[in-house]
Amino acid sequence: MNQETEKTSTRLAAILTDYLANNWTESSPGKRTITATTNMVTELQLDSFQVMEFMLEVEDHFDVAIDLESLANVQTITDLANVVIAARNDG
């Protein structure tokens, strides 16, 4: 993992931790440590809708535009970091 991916993953993990603490109270997984390798689908059991909701926060935090198609293969925080980096480079 290069430095930019690592830095972005760390930031994303923090954003997701905060986000889950404040949203989806009914279905959120319990308190747990989220890292670059955390799988949002299998470990956190976020469904596609929840991932899309979280993306609204991510877009605003990084000031990037991420189209829904880019999320098709996103599973881990690192996957998402790579999508954010690609969107930043496109913009």
């Binding site: 009914e26 809708f49 929840q50 899309m52 909701e53 609204l56 877009e59 605003d60």
Partner: protein, 392 residues
């Protein structure tokens, strides 16, 4: 090795969880329907408070007579699409009625509300186009955007700043952007800030589509919807909607002041490859639209009933949606409470909708009531009393 049908194991797990508290909310059977607001479920007379039958026209004698006449003179169905098998005069007449009602030059009719959204969005959008979609938009809008091949970006529900930021990020692509929102949203009954959205789309040179499925007949002096009520209807590029709620039938439509709407029929696959609306449906829809236009008291009664129910439930301490409207959503503590309370209401003779995540705002669970102009005061009071019983 995964096999083709394995994916249904998860569906079965989900389904089997729905009837743990009694009835499966997705499988309610009405043994009979007595009126627009009363049915029989499991032998029990039940107040219907989850039908989207806002104007209560499903049993209107004039609408029924129009349907019977069309059945007798034009038969049961059209047996094909308008492109391949021709249009009935009724289709064109309905389109003229809609154009006149919305004061728009162009109207197009579809066989369902779902195909209207699919048909319009896939005609309007293509590869390299961009759509900015409200995050609470209905599945039919989402699916239409997905089918179109356009790049899809969502913005936060009813958040003008969130939309503005996304339009800014598009830079020179904003001219190829369609903003997609609903007039009134179907789960919470809250309305889009269309004045501000229109100002934004004009500033950035984007286009705007508003789905008035739940607001037709409910908002606006003429009953055209939220865009009319907020005075921005002429500025909306495309209005879509359905006949299956206030108009008590089935089908969908699009109206627009853009001449290109007349060309949609040549490029819209959901229009081209679907059988056209049956004559009786077109006829009852025309009559229902006439009723909507000539009986403003329907809207007045609807709002009176909505106010009565909203304030009573609020005074009982229920957490409701943010705005008073004929859609009144009661937020539940969790999924289990929602399932349990929904069953209690049904057993007490009140049918409402149950809305569970993920298809709900914020992932919450709701009991959703839709009020009708046909509800009597006594029926509204029965709904209130049965909700009060949940507290006891």
């Amino acid at each position: 090795m995964k096999r083709l049908l394995d994916k249904f194991q998860a569906v079965e797990q989900l389904r089997s969880g729905l009837n743990l508290e009694g009835e499966d909310p997705t499988g309610v059977v009405f043994d009979s329907i007595n009126s627009a607001t009363e049915g029989v479920v499991s032998g029990r007379t039940t107040v219907l408070a989850g039908t989207n039958n806002y104007l209560g026209l499903t049993f209107d004698p004039a609408c029924i007579e129009a349907g019977i006449q069309a059945l007798n003179t034009r038969g049961t169905g059209t047996t094909g699409s308008r492109m391949a098998n021709g249009s009935y005069a009724l289709h064109g007449a309905l389109e003229s009625d809609l154009a006149d009602f919305f004061q728009c030059p162009h109207a197009m009719v579809f066989s369902t509300g779902y195909t209207a959204n699919l048909g319009v969005l896939t005609a309007l959008l293509g590869k390299d186009d961009v759509v900015l979609l409200d995050s609470d938009a209905h599945a039919s809008l989402f699916d239409g955007c997905r089918m179109s091949g356009a790049d899809i970006y969502r913005f936060k529900h009813n958040d003008v700043q969130s939309l503005e930021r996304r339009l800014e990020r598009l830079k020179d692509r904003a001219g190829r952007c369609l903003v997609v929102v609903e007039g009134m949203y179907s789960v919470l009954g809250d309305c889009a800030p269309l004045k501000e959205i229109v100002a934004l789309k004009d500033r950035f040179g984007a286009r705007l589509l508003v789905d008035e499925a739940h607001s037709l007949g409910v908002f606006g002096e003429r009953g055209c919807g939220v865009a009319e009520a907020l005075g921005v209807l002429p500025a909306v590029d495309f209005v879509v909607g359905t006949f299956s709620k206030s108009l008590g039938a089935m089908g969908g439509f699009c109206v627009s002041h853009h001449d290109v709407l007349g060309l949609f029929r040549y490029v819209s696959r959901p229009f081209m490859f679907t059988a056209s609306p049956s004559p009786s449906v077109a006829a009852t829809t025309r009559e229902a639209l006439r009723q909507l236009r000539t009986r403003p008291e329907l809207k007045e009664t609807l709002w009176s009933n909505a106010n009565r129910l909203y304030f009573a439930l609020r005074d009982l301490g229920f957490e409701l949606g943010p705005e008073i409207s004929p859609v009144i959503a009661v937020r539940c503590k969790d999924r289990e409470t929602a399932l349990s309370d929904w069953n209690k209401l049904l057993n007490a003779g009140v049918y409402v909708n149950m809305m569970l995540p993920p298809a709900t705002p914020g992932g919450a669970s709701f009991l959703r009531c839709s009020v009708s102009a046909a509800h009597t005061t006594a029926q509204i009071d029965t709904i209130i009393k049965k909700f009060a019983g949940l507290r006891g």
